[in-house]
Symmetry: C2
């Protein structure tokens, strides 16, 4: 069996036991179709297959490429593109059940022109991003039905609540958002109320399905919320240079999503990252050639830099999975 130390660094590692723990913990809390895992977090059909094996056969996607890849891998039972697109014609060519989020006359027209059959009305519930104004939801549903589309329900992502560390405040923001979505759903109809994420999986009382993705691998930002999920993801890096006050490892900006700030290294203070370097001050002296585990601040844009991830246990590589849903 391959040992971690045989891997080229930087290398993405996923701890097998933590992965299993996260899968089980979420499946107990939100079994079956009450979770629609968001694959944007990992972009890996191998991990999506694990989620399907845990009972979640419907998926959330952020890009057309993610749907194409899942469908090609035989995971196309029920795929939601939780995003607006104008080149919906690509979706029409996918051999899978495809549902598209729409929030405007233009995106409805694109869906209809692509011969798609099913849509969700995407409603703005407080995050300034996509989603129609709540008062426009009913009219858009009517327009979609008039265009021959089946409206499966509504979607409303309370992203502004997702990383709020104070639990009570987070719950209040989620509740406020879902009050908006409840009203929109009453006006739109349909069986689906798709919402939520890792930060609200256990406090979103309205969603018929939660779109959580980060729970599976986690990152240092979500770790601050005190959720029962473990940080399964790290980047294996190697110390290539040691100075008096600091050391340098071979893991930099091109191996890490940086929008949530610097990564963490256990037992060290991270100074800064360069393209291919991490400068850090270790508490205990390290030597050139030592390995360190770097914990990314944001899982999604970290995985999007890597071609593959390695599932490991006790230093052994159990499995190497391609991150095959990258790009667009």
């Amino acid at each position: 069996m391959l040992h971690e130390s045989a891997l080229q660094t930087p290398a993405l590692l996923v701890d097998a036991a933590d992965l299993e723990h996260n899968l089980e913990t979420m499946s107990r809390a939100r079994p079956g179709a009450s979770l629609r895992p968001h694959v944007k977090a990992h972009k890996c059909t191998g991990l999506a297959r694990r989620q399907a094996g845990a009972g979640h056969g419907s998926f959330t996607c952020a890009t057309i490429r993610e749907l194409e890849g899942l469908a090609a891998a035989g995971l196309g039972d029920d795929l939601l593109l939780a995003n607006e697109v104008l080149d919906a014609s690509r979706l029409g060519r996918i051999d899978a059940r495809v549902t598209l989020a729409v929030d405007s006359p233009e995106t409805i027209a694109a869906a209809a022109a692509a011969d798609l059959r099913e849509v969700l009305i995407d409603v703005n519930v407080g995050l300034p991003r996509c989603g129609c104004a709540p008062e426009d939801a009913a009219g858009l549903a009517e327009r979609a039905r008039a265009a021959g589309l089946e409206v499966r329900g509504v979607m409303g992502y309370e992203g502004h609540a997702m990383l709020v560390e104070e639990r009570e405040k987070r719950e209040q923001l989620v509740a406020d958002s879902m009050q908006i979505l409840r009203a929109a759903h009453a006006a739109v109809g349909g069986e689906l109320i798709s919402a939520g994420g890792t930060g609200s999986y256990d406090c979103n009382a309205l969603a018929s399905e939660v779109q959580a993705g980060s729970y599976l691998l986690m990152d240092t930002a979500y770790a601050k919320l005190g959720l029962p999920f473990r940080e399964a993801l790290s980047v294996l890096a190697r110390v290539i240079s040691v100075s008096r006050d600091y050391a340098v490892a071979d893991c930099g900006l091109k191996a890490l999503g940086m929008d949530h700030g610097n990564p963490s290294v256990d037992g060290a203070r991270v100074w800064f990252c360069s393209d291919e370097h991490l400068t850090f001050a270790p508490e205990v002296r390290v030597a050139v050639g030592d390995y360190v585990r770097v914990r990314p601040a944001h899982v999604d844009p970290t995985l999007a830099y890597h071609r593959e991830l390695h599932v490991v246990e006790g230093g052994e590589v159990l499995e190497t999975l391609p991150i095959d849903l990258r790009h667009w």
Copy 2:
């Protein structure tokens, strides 16, 4: 000919005239081997070939993969890995002239074990990253020569000066760093003094070769320095949703290096980026389906997310080049 609007978004665009301007401007200032272009900025052999065509046949790399790719493309006349590595055995298999930076007994041993022939002594000139203490340079050179390696000279990257906006302060930092490198070079010997970057290409009076890379495509961080290079790079994105106060384009964290902060959009204020979204407030109303040009804050980690770039002129795609030196 393909029009920009036929591209899937997000798409990396390089303006052909700006690219030519940047090539020519740099080649006039630092002709031939006085520039050793750093390919980490673009990771694209097609662009490296342009630089070779402009007279610069020697290249700087940050990863072994970059050397492997350049060598395979026939651009291996003189490749410098300006970084420390322990798996130098991979370098030993490359059919090219390979020079490796070393800064410790361990990295010298790795170079010798890999049957490499040439090294540079990497000296810390003020940036807390790789590079030996200046007083150790002579001893390391001696050790390298004793191990059968040819020491071509020294390298010292004044990265802490590179993005200092105030010109006088930048020049002073560069001068201070090069004073350190001059002394190290006197102790080490060899014909090469490799240093510098886009921010010091015209004020580093010591370097026999400058390792600039960003000059070719530029980004909003380097644009603040008032250099004569143009911002040739942008990301083409499409407006997918419009609300009263803002709009959303399909270009997010997975299409942009974010360590220098948010990208810019001409005629708009950028609010924030999500995985696949850019929320921005345009000065003039935009419509769903409109195209916008997004200017990244940092070129290097932006290109590392993309498979290809498109060289464009007046809306037409002249050429599509694979970004083939990505990963490690």
